[in-house]
């Protein structure tokens, strides 16, 4: 009995339960995006087992202040209502992961994300190159041949590349060097050349530029203190609102879209009919509080394009129509709180801003196999706020006032 009690008291066990669930769920989710065959058994085992581990972690190891508990319970109630109303289980799993990540190191979560994603995508890439699985190639009139490299669609491959680089850049932060930026830009070019994924190659390019400029301003000695402070002030004040603004902007643009107006038509053409499809979705299904069952027919998994294509790619519109106004608000609030909690960490703000921009066009916002940043809500921050007691700062710095006690 005493041993069992020890297990329940040991926070390490809770963390291990979380990672057991997270790895199972992540592995399966990334696997689904590849052309590797997926057995029903894998889904039947991985998903319920992951839910069990995550649920046990929450029930046995997590302790919440009353206010936080009530907020989390409301959020879980919201995703349960979304499930009942729309039949979609994805928001529930997303929220379960967010809730279960309490007190787990966010750095570890991201490292696990990188390890699992890189392993599966690398295997799919090699298998497609050797013709063991299909490398879907889409012949288009204007955009040439688009390769998927073992992933179900070229833009999904591009999205994987973008999010992998984003997570890597976030973890590296100030340790990024010039060759990291060069490699990332080259990767963006290659994604554009081989996959013609304009959004993801563009976002990867912007990622390199933003982090390079950010690091240049905040760490270069030649930059004036005024500029540094201005840059930090701007990001800390405005960074957390980027997603909310872009969500509102996306919804507004889609509502205002006019099919018979030449300017709107041109704009819609540039973003591959996102506005038209979203507008049609609103007209056909309308808005609900907790979502509705909408048949989404998208590309991917085969080179035969569906004749009745109707997929809402914009994440915000997708959430609004499929999972309801309530869930869209909840999701935006969660990301905003994540940003507020990490407002001392400029790299986090850069990352969420880039995710927000990407999700205006792509639908990966609550897919943890692409975007793991929502898990920062309850997890331990990667970087501590300035002035807070930091073991690393005190101990490992070799000089300065907080002198090291360890001798070399």
């Amino acid at each position: 009995m005493g041993k069992i009690n020890d297990y329940f008291r040991n926070p390490q066990m809770g963390e291990q339960l979380f990672f057991a669930g997270y790895i199972l769920f992540l592995w399966r989710s990334v696997w689904v995006t590849t052309m590797f065959p997926l057995s029903g058994l894998m889904t039947m085992v991985c998903v319920p087992l992951a839910a069990l581990f995550l649920g046990l972690k929450i029930l046995l190891y997590d302790h919440y202040p009353v206010k936080q508990f009530l907020l989390l319970a409301s959020a879980l109630l919201c995703v349960c209502l979304v499930f009942l109303s729309s039949g979609s289980i994805n928001p529930f799993f997303w929220m379960l992961l967010v809730a279960a990540s309490r007190d787990v190191k966010f750095e570890k979560i991201l490292k696990v994300y990188l390890a699992v994603n890189i392993a599966v995508i690398f295997l799919a890439f090699c298998a497609a190159g050797l013709d063991v699985i299909e490398n879907l190639q889409y012949e288009t009139e204007k955009r040439g041949t688009r390769n998927s490299f073992g992933i179900i669609y070229p833009t999904d491959f591009g999205a994987h590349i973008f999010f992998l680089f984003l997570v890597f850049f976030y973890l590296k932060g100030e340790a990024l060097r010039w060759y990291h930026y060069v490699i990332t830009m080259a990767a963006a070019g290659l994604v554009y050349y081989f996959c013609n994924a304009r959004l993801d190659s563009g976002c990867t390019l912007i990622l390199a530029i933003l982090f390079a400029v950010g690091n240049g301003i905040t760490h270069a000695r030649s930059v004036s203190m005024r500029l540094k402070m201005g840059w930090e002030w701007l990001w800390r004040k405005a960074g957390m609102w980027v997603m909310a603004l872009l969500a509102a902007f996306s919804v507004l643009m889609t509502v205002m879209y006019q099919a018979d107006n030449a300017v709107w038509q041109e704009l819609d053409k540039i973003i591959s009919s996102r506005l038209r499809l979203g507008h049609d979705g609103i007209e056909e299904y309308g808005w609900t509080l907790f979502g509705q069952a909408i048949k989404m027919v998208g590309n991917g998994g085969s080179t035969t394009l569906p004749s009745d294509y109707s997929f809402i790619d914009c994440s915000y519109m997708y959430m609004l129509l499929r999972h309801g106004v309530g869930f869209l608000v909840l999701m935006v609030v969660i990301f905003t709180i994540c940003c507020y909690k990490n407002r001392h960490d400029l790299y986090f703000l850069y990352a969420v801003a880039l995710v927000s921009v990407n999700c205006v066009i792509a639908h990966h916002i609550i897919q943890v196999e692409y975007n793991p940043f929502a898990l920062a809500l309850l997890a331990q921050c990667v970087r501590r706020p300035e002035g807070a007691w930091s073991l690393g700062q005190l101990r490992w710095r070799r000089s300065g006032r907080n002198c090291v006690t360890v001798q070399r």
Partner: protein, 434 residues
Amino acid sequence: MKNLKSIYFNNLIQDFWKKRKIILCFMVVCAALFAFLSVKRAQTVRELTQEQIEEIEEYHEKIEEYDKTIADAEKSLELVNQQIDELQKYVDQSIYMKLDGQNIQTAAVQYGVTTEANVGNILNALVLYINEGGLKEALSEEYPDLAVESWREVIAPSITANLLNITIIHYDEEQLKQIFELVKTRVKEQVPEIAKVEGGFSLDEIDSSIYTKADVGVTNNQNNHLNNLKGYISNRVDLENKLISQQNNKKNYIEKSEPEVMEARQIHPVMQTIAYIIVGMLFGIILPALIFILNYILSDRIRSKEDLRNANLNVIGSYHEKKGYAPALERSMMDLEILARNRQLSSIFLNVMGEDEINKKVAADYAEAIGRAGFQAETGFHVYEEAEELKKMADSKACVLFAQVGKNTYAQLEQQLRLCERFQVRVLGCVIIG
């Protein structure tokens, strides 16, 4: 900010290399599994059975049939669309379709022909000029409002003996007058041209009038045209439905009846097997590597002295049960002695994390060596919990940490370092055991 623990890839690779035999076995198993899959796949695509061939032929025939029907429907649809466009344009733009059957603006003029030449030929030439000839020439550009292209229906010339009658109908009185004047002028201008060919004649206007009339025939004709248009539109809807239905049928048929193997592929069995084996080997390497990396990321236990050194911690020595001290105890003692003398210490506290036999042995060895070097050595195994040991460590002002690989965690190590920090005890270095 530097974290105490991270992934050190060199150490990871070294660990990986230590387990090479197990990994090699796993690689072979994966490669064999993939080779088996390759053979299975090759069998399904290299040769087709008679039944499969018949199934594929039937499938292609059916698809061809669907394609033909779809192509026919598309062609018909194209024709109907063209006819609808033309008819719609006529209904929208022609003067005749705008006429009000009960209120038709009409203009009429009568000419008499006087000649010694053939009257019939002259009148025919004039009628031809009005209907098909140059009456309308260059008027479209000059009078775009008058819808010149649809005059044929509203200007009607007729011949009686040597008389030429021209009747014009229109919905708008002003435009009617304009057209009427234009026609009269143009007919007069044409007289010398016809006279050059047919012989001299004179064309004299006998009478002209402008009035309003009602004509049921016009309304009937208009209705006929509108009915035709409706018929075409209804035909188009039928064709569109037919097209959609055929496309859906084809899609459903493909979904339900597409044979699993469509053709016998010319594959090189050896090359395919090699490709599969390579992928199998990759699985055999990547999966264990992933497990290793995850283990590194998730485990909080101290893995190796190299990890601590990479985290800028001063590792003065290590002890392994089989390999003994590395470097030798004497060499580690030299470091310790120099550090202690530089700081003018008289005693060194040995802070050992855990009371295992191996820990006790290493601590005793170090205590003895420190004693031989002329320093006082105190040893504690529960510094964090026991006040007496903590007091001894604080009095010593300096300590050496003893951590056991695979047992002590980074969190414990951090806790100890924090404790030393708080009590202003200098950590001279670490000794790694195991």
